[in-house]
């Protein structure tokens, strides 16, 4: 049995310790918001927070989580910059297909928690591991600036 604190709820799952957190969340706990894109830490679709840090859950064995709290997109509203990120994403209509956006938002939440007023270069550095196949990059960047209170005009770029 592995114990996990996910979005504030204690969960017990009967899985092998090397099973990646992504699949425990999706197929065992039933939280489908965290997405699978590559399985090799190359796309960021599976980004969640573990102990407050954004990690690629496809490459995080569940045994390595321990008692560190896990937060997924379903719990984003409860994080400090969470609602602001959700509102900015909605206001700027960021999503095209939307598949990458859970991962993008979780990475953005990690960035803004650590660096509330990031520079453009800091935004690029924090977000470069998150692929968007629809290439919504200009709006993602604008939404991060909006959520951080850096820009209110939705400048894309």
């Amino acid at each position: 049995m592995v114990k996990l604190l996910v979005n504030g709820t204690l969960r017990e799952v009967d899985v092998p310790g090397e099973m990646p957190l992504l699949w425990v969340l999706r197929d065992e706990i039933g939280l489908k918001g965290t997405k699978f894109g590559c399985g090799i830490a190359q796309c960021g679709a599976c980004t969640v927070h573990v102990g407050g840090q954004p990690v690629r859950s496809c490459s995080t064995p569940v045994s390595s989580v321990g008692d560190k709290p896990v937060v997924t997109i379903e719990g984003l509203s409860a994080l400090e910059p969470g609602s602001a990120i959700q509102e900015a994403w909605a206001k700027l209509d960021v999503a095209q297909c939307g598949y990458c956006q859970a991962g993008q938002m979780m990475s953005a939440a990690g960035l803004l928690a650590a660096t509330p007023k990031p520079s453009d270069a800091e935004i690029l550095a924090a977000m470069d591991g998150n692929l968007c196949r629809c290439a919504t990059y200009p709006r993602i960047r604008a939404a991060i600036r909006l959520a951080a209170g850096l820009d209110s005009d939705g400048r894309e770029g």
Binding site: W23, K32, G37, L76, A78, D93
Partner: protein, 746 residues
Amino acid sequence: MQTRRQMLFTVGLSAAGALLVGCNLLNDGKPAAPVRRKAPPAGTPLGDFVAIGRDGSVRLFAKNPEIGQGSKTLLPMLIAEELDVAWDAVFVEFAAVDAKRFGPQFAGGSMMTPMNWEPMRQVGAAARALLVSAAAGRLKVEPSTLRTEAGHVIDASGKKIPYGELVAEAAKLPPPDVKSLTLKPKSAYRILGKPKAGVDTDAIVHGDPLFGIDTEVEGLRYAVYVKAPVYGAPLVSADLAAAKAMPGVEEVFALEGVAPPKDGQIGLAPGLAPGVAIVGRNWWQVNRAREALNAKWADGFGAQHDTGIYAARAAELLKGRGKPHERIGNVDAALGQAARTVVAVYDAPFIPHLTLEPQNCTARPTAKGLEIWAPTQFPQDGQAVVAQTLGLKPDQVTVHMRRCGGGFGRRIMNDYMVEAAAIARHVKGPVKLLWSREDDVAFDYFRPGNTHRLRAGIDADGKVIAYDVHGVSYSRGGKLVDGGELFLNAQPPFLVPNYRLEKSLIETIVPTGWVRAPISNTLSFVHECFWDELAAAAGKDPLAFRLEHMKARFDSPVSKPGPEGAPFDVRRMAAVLELVGKRSGWGAAKRPAGTGMGIATYFSHLGYFAEVAQVKVAADGAWRVEKVWVVGDCGSIILNPSGANAQVQGAVLDGISQLRQEIRFEKGRAVQTNFDAVPMLRHSAAPEVDVHFHLTDHPPTGLGEPALPPIIPAVVNAVYDATGARVRTLPLTAERIQAARTTRAA
């Protein structure tokens, strides 16, 4: 940062499949997140697309798949405009997959807007007419004395009756004659032309399970399907018992292949590739069990299918003549009169689709046959193909659309739907098939490459008088492959009086298909880069050179219709070209050393686009696009400016990503297997894209694709402007740029 705050989360799935989340946070005095909007009651149907609740809520059914192109928002916007309801009151759901009620349901060819612009407005107007008739009956007045606004019928005295109070009566009336409906003039629009966020936005930002991969049904198990990396190769041996012994695995079995029907297209009627299914309680465990399978395939027939062998074959074919394909005027005579001749060979590679959501499908056997949930661009074809392959009747197969994590043409093919259906039938229970990313790359229907030899004659005034093309594409079983057409909606045949296209084919076993702006996404590179060479040979500015040739055709347009059956209107193209020149400061700005600007135009999917790219090339050949200017003419109105802008930006950035991509083949199998080997555009390489729509008096057309083709040649032409290096082979790598610099110096 997240602390161990107390949280109470309740998550529930409504009957309609919309996830409703009530969220109560006891979070250190911070305001609780807003309670999320709920799906309204089912309401009373007014036709197949509209249902109105007594509370005034409006449920609209979106008939086409949503792949990120915005159909689930735009189609209901068209209905809502004519229905005259407030956009905030609208709740959108996917329609059932049912050709009888909803007509053709697909996402492809940027056809949503041209095909639905009129019918969806008529749907809204018809429902509105019923509501007005019901009100007229109740008020005992003529319908013509009534008007509507924001979900109300209003009489001459200003008295308002909400639609919710009229719907029960309206539903009993006979549907109005389409010819009796008057659609609103553009000036009266309240919804169309205004930016609207996607209708699933709230669900997406909360991580609701909308996508194919998120489908849950009672008793679901997970599956992988292991196939030969050489397409269609039969299984020789596999250790089924060893895979079965892996933890979490419940069933392992081989499936015989089902050949596609003889006259069927390989992609659209895929049959079933032979393989081994592994089924179990979670996907990670069944996927891991592949390693134990040790499958061997009879795949020797792949040996001759290799990127290097194809290249050598193309070079050989280009030494000779091809099969005549298209012809205008007399090319040989014109070449004989030319003051100078320019010759070049262009080469475009195979590229993948790589939707971010890998292919997947959930299937459940039912008493009637099968129920299927799929992220698909062609659900009706999927239903037909599953029935055809598994020996069922189409009406035994029910397909539900799920939101697609990208499409780009990949999900036109329903091969994964057939696989899931076959596995579910075999295990007699519900199964979710999910491809690994490695499966997704290996079993793509790739954009086929091509090789072109071009020869043009220029007269003493710098006018192109002859344009001679020999293109090499691919065939499968002797037939031109899907996506391998070489027809020219590129400009030269519209602009040059003497033109000839000859074609040769290389036989391949690689599955091919349509990748966003198919055909155009290679032909734009080939012809718009060569056109740039011709401008240079004529000693002219590339924009002025193009414009001169277009203007010469204003009064003598070529009658050859464009590929979508619409004539190419050279004046529309000239207008966007001039405008993009102005917006980008073409020719005016002095560029720092190593920075260049390139321009290109392209007509595809009924849209006219001209684009300028500003590109910086480092001393070592590394390149990056710094800025892009786009001007597009897609008709008289941009129906949803937010979605339209996003599509154009996305298409342009997709094109920049394509410039670095190539899938190579060895022994009939794809060499690259995952994102670590296929370069994908990331945040740090995505430039600003300036988008401008030039409105003209034509019906609105689609935007998923037409902005893509011009960016590819615009970037390559900008590299030439920056460095003098003419790169004629993609992908555009630093090595190729350096090699072309050297060639030029020599």
